[in-house]
């Protein structure tokens, strides 16, 4: 076999070649070594690349024996069947079959007890928030709390239409519009600024977020959000972690914010971590100053 191919090459003259002629017969045959005791199979192929250079392609594949593959006699025989169709002249590097790099799990729809765990982990303030949500459900017709929404009210037809749904351009309601900043009738007034709007709720919310926000400065460039999370979550439930990243360079700007669910946790984190050596720098942890409003 090898002698044959040598003879061929000796007879071969470059000048007689057409450009498009297949040079494949010049290549040494494909070699398959193994699989060895470690399950490594080596395939050596030769090929001409686009520039006409001979390229040696060595592919190492791990042949894994799948656990307890008990094959019967006929299946064993089929193992050694020669490949046919398109598979017969398949290149070693074609990678038709790959093992997923991703670990796929059978995802349970709801792990047992998952719901109760969540509410416990949420802490006091979150559960209070949940209760507040229930009270939010107030029917505008019969003023019953937490039972049904306005649209589902059983007394819908009995009650007189409430004034919230009707424009009353002629009555005193217009005074709110004219009283609002801006002179024209068409001036837009955000709902929170309108008369009767509960302004305290909005500002409360804002303050609550800011209060539990902790600023971390003097971070090293390599510190990312997951690192901060790892650093701060032992102190209590963390709602948000943010590290400022320079938009252009993509490098950390050396500071970040961590929001806690409860104020006490945040205070403990500040007490403990202010002046803490992290990644050869000394952290500075303090309350984020509320923005001037």
């Amino acid at each position: 076999m090898t002698i044959d191919s040598q003879q061929k090459t000796s007879k071969f003259k470059w000048g007689e070649m057409d450009e498009d002629d297949d040079l494949d017969f010049l290549l040494p045959p494909k070699q398959v070594i193994g699989p060895d005791e470690n399950g490594l199979k080596t395939t050596i192929e030769y090929k001409f690349n686009d520039e006409g250079n001979k390229v040696k392609i060595t592919t190492r594949t791990r042949v894994r024996k799948l656990a307890s593959a008990r094959l019967n006699k006929r299946a064993m025989e089929r193992r050694s069947w020669p490949k046919f169709g398109d598979a017969a002249n398949e290149e070693a590097g074609s990678h038709l079959t790959m093992v997923s790099t991703e670990e796929i799990l059978l995802e349970r729809p709801k792990a047992p007890g998952a719901k109760t765990d969540e509410s416990k982990a949420g802490g006091d303030s979150l559960s209070q928030l949940g209760k507040g949500g229930a009270v939010l459900m107030v029917c505008r017709i019969c003023h019953k709390k937490g039972d049904h929404w306005t649209s589902k009210c059983p007394y819908k037809d009995l009650a007189a239409p409430t004034d919230t749904f009707i424009d009353k351009p002629t009555t005193g309601e217009t005074s709110t519009i004219s009283a609002a900043p801006g002179t024209g009738k068409a001036a837009y007034v955000p709902p929170s600024m309108r008369a009767g709007a509960d302004r305290s709720a909005g500002s409360d919310m804002r303050r609550r977020n800011d209060e539990n926000s902790v600023r971390v400065t003097n971070l090293s460039e390599d510190t990312r959000e997951p690192d901060l999370m790892e650093l701060f979550h032992p102190f209590g439930a963390v709602t948000r972690v943010y590290v400022a990243i320079d938009q252009k360079t993509g490098v950390s700007r050396g500071f970040g914010f961590v929001n806690f669910v409860s104020r006490e946790d945040a205070q403990r984190a500040i007490n403990k971590l202010n002046g803490y050596g992290y990644d050869n720098l000394i952290l500075r942890v303090e309350w984020a100053t509320p923005r001037p409003t």
Binding site: L71, R74, A87, M98, E102, L106, E107
Partner: protein, 328 residues
């Protein structure tokens, strides 16, 4: 588990089938070439060249020597499994949608689609021992009462006495294979509301599972056609499979192919969903496909399953050991 990804097809998968011994996996796709894979490591063993249209379905004889495929090129072909050579071609005037070998591999049932003035029909062909003697004549032709509606799947009942069919008219029918008479129809009240896309028999032929675009899969008694269980899922069901080992059923689906590009793949729910067969409760989902799942098959040993998607991939999953002790 780390699934094995097999990218042998360039078009969406349509059907998957294991052989009886569970060492070979056959895949059909819209790209004309059914492909044979080793079912343990996913290595490609060969392809069957000769079809000139999408291949909708295939079946493998019990001794793994013959393969039959049904294709949109209006033929059903018999193949030699080992060499990939075509042995015979049954010609129809319309696409062949479903094929199934009878017990004993002497007969095969092939369904043909409604096409032009032709109505959908179920053909029973005799499979000769020697491919030289093979003839294309039908032993029996069954005409569906709803001839304009496609029959998506027809399989043999117990002891080849009946044929069970389901299709676009959402009715499951049981036919007598001796006389060709319609024996039973599924109850309209409890039956599917939309197209039946898939049908899967239990190993012992006592019951079967159907999947439908009405977002449910139903388990039926094979003899009496009484509804046993219903599995409700959030998406149209394209493929169903039953575990031969545990009391699990797997449903695969996703939203319509036309809506795929406009939605996020996380919203598409392209997962194979496992349900407890008896309690009808969801056990879990296996994600990974980037398109709806069109084909599902369980290895006869029940320790692995494969899914084929609109994305052109076959994903072969060998279960982790903890799968076998899942408790509801």
């Amino acid at each position: 588990m780390r699934p094995i990804l097999m990218k042998g097809h360039e078009r969406p998968l349509t059907f998957l089938r294991y052989n009886r011994d569970g060492d070979l996996l056959f895949s059909c796709a819209k790209d004309h070439t059914p492909t044979l894979w080793f079912a343990d490591n996913g290595e490609r063993l060969g392809t069957y060249r000769g079809h000139n249209g999408a291949v909708w379905c295939c079946d493998i004889s019990r001794d793994s020597s013959r393969l039959i495929t049904g294709s949109a090129d209006q033929t059903a072909k018999l193949w030699d499994v080992k060499s990939g050579k075509q042995l015979f071609s049954f010609k129809f005037g319309s696409p062949a949608r479903s094929v199934d070998f009878a017990v004993g591999d002497q007969l095969a049932v092939i369904t043909s689609d409604p096409f032009m003035e032709r109505t959908s029909a179920i053909h029973v062909k005799r499979i000769a021992e020697d491919p030289e003697d093979q003839i294309g004549d039908s032993v029996l032709v069954l005409e569906s009462p709803e001839g304009r509606k496609r029959i998506n799947r027809a399989v043999w009942g117990p002891l080849n006495q009946t044929i069970v069919s389901g299709g676009e008219d959402a009715v499951i029918r049981i036919w007598d294979t001796e006389t060709g008479k319609l024996l039973n129809e599924s109850n309209e009240e409890v039956g599917h509301k939309k197209t039946i896309t898939s049908l899967c028999k239990a190993d012992d032929d006592s019951h079967f599972l159907t999947g439908s675009l009405d977002k449910t899969a139903k388990l039926w008694d094979m003899r009496t056609l009484t509804l046993i269980k219903t599995y409700t899922t959030g998406v149209p069901v394209n493929a169903v499979a039953m575990s031969p080992l545990l009391n699990h059923v797997v449903l695969g689906g996703g939203q319509d192919a036309s809506a795929v590009t406009t939605t996020d793949h996380r919203a598409g729910k392209f997962e194979a969903k496992f349900y407890d067969k008896i309690l009808q409760e969801e056990i879990g989902g296996v994600k990974g496909h980037f398109g709806p799942i069109n084909a599902l098959a369980f290895n006869p040993d029940g320790k692995s399953f494969s899914s084929g998607g609109e994305d052109g991939y076959v994903r072969l999953h060998h279960f982790d050991s903890d799968y076998f002790n899942i408790k509801i």
